[in-house]
Symmetry: C2
Subunit: 664 residues, 2 copies
């Protein structure tokens, strides 16, 4: 970041303390310190260079990732990094690798589903990486429907072993990251069969490869499933295919915390409640929401900086053209995404608290809040990942033609991010789960059961069904109470409308299937309310620092009013606002864009991303875009020679009219 | 397409004559015949195989494309294909190449802007491909703002030459396809300077490379701009960068149809109206709309077939699970896209007629319909390309996890398609042009000037501002008149509302800038009306064939009612429909989904795409998805060996705890 800062002018305009905002974004001074230190350590280490990543053929790309992953592990050991620091390091290295699954899925699965004895045996091996593991759940034929998995684990009491087998082609394990070429072990999910009876899906630790020569063990067929979307992106990962031909494992490699099979082949449930497993799901989804805010902020950072650099039209008397960030159409697409990045950050922070709360309750055998927590995390995972995937592509388009170049960083970011809409629950399937919870809540409203947590507003259903917005002028829309009631009334009324339509069906399940699209919309309305309300709650906290609170208020207003405008049909259709009030919201939204404008660059600076992490010429901190784009072009392999490889065989014969004799 | 047809059941359900629909889709029996014959010719020729395209590194990928392009040219010559057939062949080869720009931009530019003498000199060379050309307009610093281009062409009367020069870094030509490594010539757009005066942007034919050894000529720096979004995709194209260092060309290489420079350096306008150039723009945009329907239909074909193959959940008593196409949430996302494909096809057909009409009028010096035609094509280009880009990604998501694999064909289709949102006019900039036309139309409403063509409805503004929907039950929404009036009233009222808000500003341009986001929405409403009305007009034609008209009516209903639902805020907010009527529309939409369902597979079969063209395992005609996915996986280079390249250096040291001594 040496040399001229072409965005200095923009930075000077900021009306708030950027350093303070960095801490708000990071969550705490400690988080900021660790993240700042480790991100710079990674950025300054050539071992983590991203150079050429989007140009490498698959095999070289993958080998390079293996090298980086090993180097990262070496640095973690050499620098004696803490667990927190090691996690940060992997995050800032910013390249999907088998280690993500080893640390993020394999170890947690053993921790969550293994007995104490199993944990004692396997976790030290995993922590030292003497074994490398992955999480083999999805199959060629089954993803969302976990209960439909076909792999079998049949108990053989003669040898005290399970026989793991892939009975059909569609039972092949398919997709698990780290499975294809690296993992020595996997937690494999399979139908437990003992004594001729099918007890459904359970987890088993299975060794896949020899620890000496890394060859697949007998009975195991394993490989990579092939190229995925994008350049670089997830092609650094060995998502794998795996088939078992009657592979035997000892009985004690079934993960037995929740249910066991005895030596005699008897299936026994432990007294540990199955609900405990949901705690893990809440945890994983909370991290996905946090990742959404990171991906969104990263795209927004690139698009915002480039929008300040790029000028087009509007030159008068030979002066400079207008910065594209000054166009309202650009602001109307970009600023709501900037606001979303902050909104998702705060709701993610709150989800961390929720996870702690749920965990404590589970330990005290209190399962009362679990359905609400489950619905809430499912819905927020869906909402934030969908918005982020769309938002990244919108940011790419906001960068015009140059956003289509890999050197903009946005194509790879999009390609690497979009699977989040599908994994850990397809986003539409998840909203249907939320809808089911909403319908249940509505149906119990008369029963005296009080809705809690994020669904508490349903307790005020009578008021919410009748009230009307009292907004009279544009600035009334700045009142948090006005916003909150609008989103509550809309969500409540959409849920109630669905419930009323459901009653018309004789068979409730048929009704649910038929009205599924409407139910998803009601669920989305509920989830948007959660994000808005958590943003408003954040603002009610004591937030020190010059101008910080004011900026967050502007962002919260933009996030809410943009949603209100986008979905104004819902607010109008449910009769909460009038057409006039909708126009006032729009007017206020435009005013907020103007307030945000001078702070835009500093608001993305507050994410504290290094140029290494952004890996985007358009998003460079110093704004020195054009010379660097020009330089980068010459690095393409096609430019190694002035005359293209293939000229003599394929171009010259055309120009020289020698096609009839050309050998092609 | 031999062997078992796993979708035979689906095909048997069809309630219409698929062969007849193929002709409707193609536009005529002749178009169908040519397209069917050539697409099969390409599919059966191994020279056009797409095998491995998404896995090749850039240099090999590009060389491969050169080979295919030469081979295609050889086939065109050997088979003595007509121009129509040659164009079809290039289309079905389905790989972006320099030939696209040579035939699609270089030759048309000379035809449109060259004098008869120039055409006589250059066109035969180009038609025989003795020279290969591209279209060098955009620069590093300027895309949308063509008038801001910086390259200069300064006339030197001493030598009767132009001096082409790149005075700044940002004046480097940037993006032109075919420029980087192949083109021997380019039409270069530059500021014409003569006698010390700047006459703005004009086109010049400039030779870039030696016709013998293909080396760049003196003063020319030319190369490829580097990797772009996606695997394969546009990386087969040598989008280029080009700089001139005082390159001299003879005066007669300025394209002089519309304006000339004399030997003495005098700038003269010919009596040929500049408006003629707009004809070309109408032509180019019409082809873009046609391409949108092709790309959309291709994605929809893949997603529809796979949705019929894929089953998930809903198994009862060990029976088969439910086909995902039977879920309303899937239908609600997929069927409107299927309907859009047909809608865009028909509006594209109509645009072809419009182009002919405009051309005839221009030849008769009638420019009266030009503003309307210009606004209409600009708006439709924007509307259809945005919807198609989003639609392809939606189709990819509708295929779940497997849609993320390159072998699904969807990632490459997305990556190769999205630039259409940016080139030939950024989609937002274009809608602002439409909005300007709409505001002008509204402001002239009292003046007696009668709006014509697609804006004719504004002539009934008084009625449209007051009327209300008379829909009383769901099926009333099936009446074309009900739909048409709804879309007209919405579009008219949104335009009028914008116009009324604009008046409040002292400076109209400031108002236009401030309200830009609202203006874009009004423009979109207008364009959606055009698509809906052209679909309805199509239905009023005599359409023979068993069940064809009924299917098209269902598709038209789905397209319209889905839009009405998506934008119901507009319809409610402008007061044309009530909340109850919006619900009825939704109810009718669901009913139409059920009517479409049994015909879904046959409706995508009607596109008549070969498996070669689709290049998608998920979209295979025979539905034999899983075995082929499994087979394809093993072709990845990573599977060449059981043990990964890199194991000894990067994995073994980890497992064996030898990190401290590992050399990384």
């Amino acid at each position: 970041m040496e040399g001229v800062d072409y965005l200095a002018n923009e930075r000077n305009k900021a009306e708030f303390d950027v350093d303070e905002m960095k801490i708000v974004w990071a969550g705490s001074r400690h988080s900021f310190d660790v993240s700042d230190r480790i991100s710079k350590l990674v950025a300054n280490d050539l071992g983590f260079s991203k150079e050429g990543r989007t140009m490498l053929p698959r095999k070289e790309l993958f080998k390079n990732t293996l090298k980086k992953a090993a180097y990262a592990w070496k640095r973690i050991i050499d620098l004696r990094l803490s667990e927190e620091e090691a996690t940060q390091l992997r995050r800032w290295v910013d390249e999907p690798a088998f280690t993500d699954l080893h640390w993020g899925m394999f170890i947690p699965a053993i921790k969550g589903q293994g007995t104490d004895k199993q944990q004692k045996k396997w976790l030290p091996l995993a922590h030292k990486m003497q074994i490398i593991g992955c999480y083999a759940q999805t199959e060629l034929g089954h993803g969302s429907n976990v209960q439909g998995l076909e792999t079998t684990a049949t108990f053989d009491p003669q040898t005290d072993e399970f026989v793991i087998h892939s009975p059909t082609l569609t039972s092949s394990k398919w997709w698990p990251g780290g499975l294809g070429k690296v993992s020595t072990h996997a937690v494999v999910y399979a139908r437990l069969i003992t004594d001729g009876k099918d007890y459904g899906i359970n987890g088993f630790i299975v060794q896949l490869r020899c620890l000496e020569d890394h060859k697949p063990l007998p009975g195991i067929t394993v490989g990579d499933i092939g190229m995925k979307f994008g350049n670089g992106a997830y092609n650094t990962m060995d998502n794998g295919v795996l088939r078992f031909d009657h592979v035997r494992i000892p009985r004690d490699q079934m993960l037995m915390r929740v249910s066991q099979v005895t030596k005699e082949g008897k299936y026994v449930q432990s007294d540990i409640p199955r609900q405990l497993l949901y705690g893990t799901m809440v945890y994983v989804r909370q991290t996905i929401v946090a990742d959404a805010s990171i991906a969104m902020s990263r795209a927004v950072c690139i698009a915002t900086r480039y929008s300040a650099v790029r000028r087009q039209f509007g030159s008068q008397n030979g002066g400079k053209e207008t910065q594209v960030i000054d166009y309202k159409t650009q602001q109307n697409r970009l600023f709501p995404l900037l606001a979303s990045a902050y909104a998702f950050r705060f709701v993610g922070e709150w989800l961390k608290w929720l996870y702690t709360d749920v965990t404590q309750r589970l330990q005290a055998n209190d399962f009362s809040t679990l359905p609400e927590a489950h619905a809430c995390t499912a819905g927020l995972k869906s909402l934030t990942t969908t918005a982020t995937a769309d938002g990244i592509e919108e940011c790419r388009k906001l960068c015009g033609g140059h956003g289509y170049l890999c050197s903009s960083g946005l194509p790879e970011l999009f390609a690497v991010y979009v699977p989040a809409c599908t994994y850990e629950g397809d986003n539409v399937v998840l909203q249907l789960q939320v809808a089911r919870f909403l319908m249940k809540t509505v149906s119990q409203l008369g029963s005296g059961k009080k809705p809690v947590g994020t669904i508490a507003y349903m307790g005020r259903i009578e008021h919410l069904m009748q009230c009307h917005s009292d907004v009279k002028q544009a600035k009334d829309w700045l009142k948090p109470s006005a916003i909150l009631e609008a989103f509550e009334a809309r969500a409540a009324r959409m849920s109630v409308a669905c419930a009323q339509n459901l009653i018309k069906f004789d068979n409730p399940e048929e009704g649910f299937a038929e009205l599924a699209a409407d139910l998803v919309e009601a669920a989305v309305a509920h989830c948007q309310l959660i994000v808005v309300s958590k943003f408003i709650e954040k603002l009610q906290q004591n937030i020190p620092g010059k101008g910080i609170k004011q900026q967050l208020e502007v962002l919260c207003g933009i996030y809410s009013l943009f949603l209100l405008h986008k979905h104004h049909g819902d607010f109008l259709g449910t009769g909460y606002i009038t057409s006039k009030q909708a126009s006032l919201a729009n007017e206020q939204l435009r005013a907020l864009y103007s307030q945000l404008r001078p702070n835009a660059i500093s608001l993305v600076d507050a994410f504290n991303y290094t140029d290494h992490y952004l890996d985007s010429i358009l998003g460079r901190y110093d704004g020195n875009v054009y010379p660097k784009l020009y330089e980068a072009a010459w690095k393409d392999p096609l430019n190694e020679s002035d005359v293209a490889d293939g000229f003599h065989d394929y171009i010259r014969p055309i120009i020289k009219q020698q096609m009839r004799t050309a050998r092609l």
